[in-house]
Symmetry: C2
Subunit: 180 residues, 2 copies
Amino acid sequence: MKIEPWDEVSEGAPDTRRIFTVRSDVVRSRATGREHTVDRLLAPDWVNVVAITDQHEMLFVRQWRFGARTFTLEVPAGLIEPGEEPLAAGQRELLEETGYAGPDARVIGTVLPNPAFMDNKTTTIYCPRVTCVAEQQLDPMEELQVVKIPVERVERTLKEGGELATALGMVALMWWQMAR
Amino acid sequence: MKIEPWDEVSEGAPDTRRIFTVRSDVVRSRATGREHTVDRLLAPDWVNVVAITDQHEMLFVRQWRFGARTFTLEVPAGLIEPGEEPLAAGQRELLEETGYAGPDARVIGTVLPNPAFMDNKTTTIYCPRVTCVAEQQLDPMEELQVVKIPVERVERTLKEGGELATALGMVALMWWQMAR
């Protein structure tokens, strides 16, 4: 089957919430000429961080997640501010959420979080040899516990199921495995 | 820092779209007693499928994605219908999107797609030794091209960047790597 991009026909009214904007737009197939309404979630780009200490531990944050109503263990992560580079955003989020920083941060991968309805990207930063240099600096809604897991135990912990099984956290681990 | 679940205070009005419902609810911290409004996206559970042919090729579908406005190469995927088991849903989606089926499908992992604001799960099914048994059966909005990539080339293709870099597709590959 030959596939083509779809054309944009019209934009719905934006419903702007705190962390995203919802909009249902009309698009048209070049193959059939038919129009369909598609739901979109517009959001800023995100960044997440694989940070490893000199003791070969990976840093995670444990927090209550409002969508899934459960605790998760995820790599430090957050929004990229307007005009901010992903690398700087990752280092900022790492410092705010954990108090850790390191000398050699670099970008190791970029992924579409959910191309079916989201327009944004998530970039993964790798920070080796991080050390604790400051206190956590959290937003009013953030209650985060820093958890260190020995690198050689991360995959086993993930396989055992539970709090590590979040999509963007797993993507960060996969970029890290491929970058090693 | 000690962390606790947050209590639910009140539900906002649901804004129901075609593929999800948006709702902004009020929650309260047990640590501070403060209330915050949180945006939620309520959606059915999803399933995706790692399917491999007798010729050691992995099946992907190439399609125009309305959220990211780009083509992606993703493993076959879709919604789990009410009352449907993930394993059955995965086999159904594989058959509809590609026309392929196999004798030994099994569940290899479950992940939270976005626990920050989504309430659903995605389960990954592994189907070895699939063969083409039918024509594609697509929904009116689906225009999909089936793409077969030799298994040994999948990771290299992903590293090269581009259409394979979608979060839930990468999660499916990671469950598959860990299940081998």
